[in-house]
Amino acid sequence: MPAIAIEASGLTKWFGADETKTIAVRDFSFQANFGEMLFVVGPSGSGKTTLLSMISGILRPNSGTVKIEDVEIWSLSSNDIADFRLRKIGFVFQDYHLFPRLTTAENVAIPLILQGRKWDEAIEEGRKNLEIVGLKNRADLPPVKLSGGEQQRVAIARAIVSRPDIMIFDEPTASLDGDTGRSIVAFVRDSLLNEKRSIILVTHDDRILSFADRTLNMQDGRIVSIQQAKAHEE
């Protein structure tokens, strides 16, 4: 029985009030396990991003709880939640959000700098993580000199630099061509997923669904189906 990484229970989130009230996520419960790559799919407006934000400690739910490694994150103070995200969760954003004037190694080092690590130590660690994603020789270049796929790898290196237990990917292939997208997700699955880490990935991209261990299909803020994948090739 795999250990539970994230346990969400009764999550509900709405925006607006009265006539403008929109319920984005309704009474949503699920578990994500360590060693598992969980995909969340669904049409635009189905509540995927809202769900992702709530389980990663970014958006406070109106009701429900989120436990990560037995810590009820929404009972923490905002500073503690920020610190929790910094140390336990790695984010890969759709638009990468790299800092153009920093080198790729410096970009990767940002979470460590925010953790209070010394600049030079953090950059060195950044270089090591760039090696993991195959960009060792790009460490001193600014992100604008890299291709889209390489920038995505830099963003991944930044997400893993603090050795997070949870990794959150938001539409990681949206800005990439099909082959690059597939290779990135394959890399994530093959190199970053292990029994001490859980990866949650939100996507619209049908071409990468085969990489999921489980796929949650959302519609109107609810789970409409859960697909268990066939065994993956090693």
């Binding site: 991003t49 809202t50 992702l52 934000s53 990663s56 970014i58 958006l59 905002s78 500073n79 920020a82 610190d83 929790f84 995200r85 910094l86 140390r87 984010f91 954003f93 759709q94 638009d95 959000h97 800092f99 153009p100 004037r101 920093l102 940002i110 979470p111 700098i113 925010l114 953790q115 209070g116 690590r117 010394k118 600049w119 953090a122 930044r158 938001d170």
Partner: protein, 394 residues
């Protein structure tokens, strides 16, 4: 813009806090055109503020030129005197009265008034005549040619070589002129600390010769110059002089009185104040708006940092650093530009009255701090409101 890159070593952080500040710096200079626009706004505002206040200070210094140049510690005058040029003559007996006040080391009369010279060329030129006490020559200028003893010679005058000197047709020792049908001769050329405000040359002579050459009213003493025995005696001297119906002021007080007159009883102060306020508003508008735009354009970067785990106070620190950095840089460049402008202006316009004093610099710095504070406030509000959730939504 290579200097921006060269500055990297300056900001190379040694502590984690500096690491966050470095990220803030890189964000700030990322869009160079925006950064330059931000800088230009502050430079422009500082330049105008310092320029305006420096002109005012320069005019005030020139308005007090006689007070500065004579350098007496205490000045006795009629209470209605507003500026050093508009004298109200004191009765001769006030000299004895002041000399008899305990604590007065010595007191001497000073004549200060206007006259019209007829130069060798036949041209007429208005001048300011300063008549120094015959026995002591208290307040005499620093001679650059001639001998001070020659001031006691017949018809002797000393010309001040300042920005107005050329209006006397650049006289030399021995150059003569006419003053109310009297012959005057230049026996010395001297320098003083400050030129006058009204663009007229200055001649020094003895007190008695000034009275002899220039028609006067019944009372003749323009000011009494008093040297107290010690600084502690000044208070008593002021009190005794006030009891006699006159006013005794220290040099600084007299200059302040002149400054107050121009500032509050003429339009000059109001105009300068308005221009300074306009400079401030223009600077605040340009810098505030550009900084706000900068924050808006980098909002998603701040949001990404927040999502990764940056705390609110760290983001506030980044914004304060950015506002402070650009403000201090803009302030330095603005002051430098102003100093350069004044220097260039004085090279070509000897009468240009502008002087940068510490008070102007502090005032401009205070206004820059307000600009930085208000810009930061807007930025901080915006950044604190951003939800990292918006970063996911794109």
């Amino acid at each position: 813009m290579n200097w921006l890159n060269k500055m990297k070593w300056l900001t190379a952080p040694k502590t984690p806090t500096l690491g966050i500040l470095r990220i803030a710096y890189e964000l700030l200079v990322n869009d160079r055109s925006k950064f330059v626009a931000l800088l230009v706004g502050i430079v422009f505002a500082v330049f105008l503020m310092v320029q305006m206040t420096s002109m005012f200070s320069g005019i005030m210094a020139r308005a007090s030129a006689t007070v500065i140049n004579i350098g007496a510690k205490v000045w006795v005058m009629d209470p209605s005197v507003n500026t050093v040029a508009n004298t109200i003559p004191l009765p001769d007996y006030t000299l004895d009265e002041v000399r008899s006040i305990p604590g007065v080391k010595y007191a001497v009369p000073l004549y200060s008034g206007g006259a019209l010279l007829k130069l060798r060329s036949g041209a007429y030129q208005a001048v300011n005549i300063v008549g120094l006490d015959d026995s002591s020559l208290v307040g005499r200028p620093q001679l650059v040619s001639g001998n001070i003893q020659d001031i006691f010679a017949e018809n002797a005058f000393i010309a001040i070589e300042d920005s107005e000197f050329r209006k006397l047709e650049n006289p030399k020792i021995g150059t003569d002129f006419e003053l109310n049908d009297h012959r005057g001769v230049i026996v010395g050329i001297a320098h003083v600390a400050s030129s006058g405000l009204f663009g007229v040359p200055t001649l020094y002579t003895t007190y008695n010769r000034a009275l002899q050459y220039i028609p006067n009213s019944r009372f003749t003493i323009s000011y009494l110059l008093v040297e107290p025995k010690s600084p502690r005696d000044v208070g008593n001297i002021k009190k005794e002089v006030a009891a006699a119906g006159y006013l005794a002021l220290s040099q600084e007080e007299f200059m302040q009185k002149i400054s107050n007159f121009y500032m509050y009883q003429t339009g000059m102060g109001t105009n300068m104040l308005l221009m300074t306020a306009i400079s401030f508003i223009v600077g605040l508008s340009i810098s505030g708006q550009t900084f706000y735009t900068f924050i808006l354009e980098n909002l998603e970067k701040f949001g990404a940092l927040k999502a990764i785990g940056a705390k609110s106070h760290e983001l506030v620190m980044m914004i304060l650093f950015q506002a402070t950095f650009v403000s201090i840089l803009g302030y330095g460049l603005g002051v430098g530009l102003c100093a350069l402008t004044i220097w260039l202006a004085k090279l070509n316009l000897p009468d240009y009255a502008a002087v940068i004093i510490y008070r102007n610099l502090w005032l401009a710095l205070g206004m820059v701090v307000i600009i930085a504070g208000m810009s930061s406030y807007v930025g901080v509000r915006k950044v604190l409101k951003i939800e990292p959730f918006d970063i996911f939504r794109g």
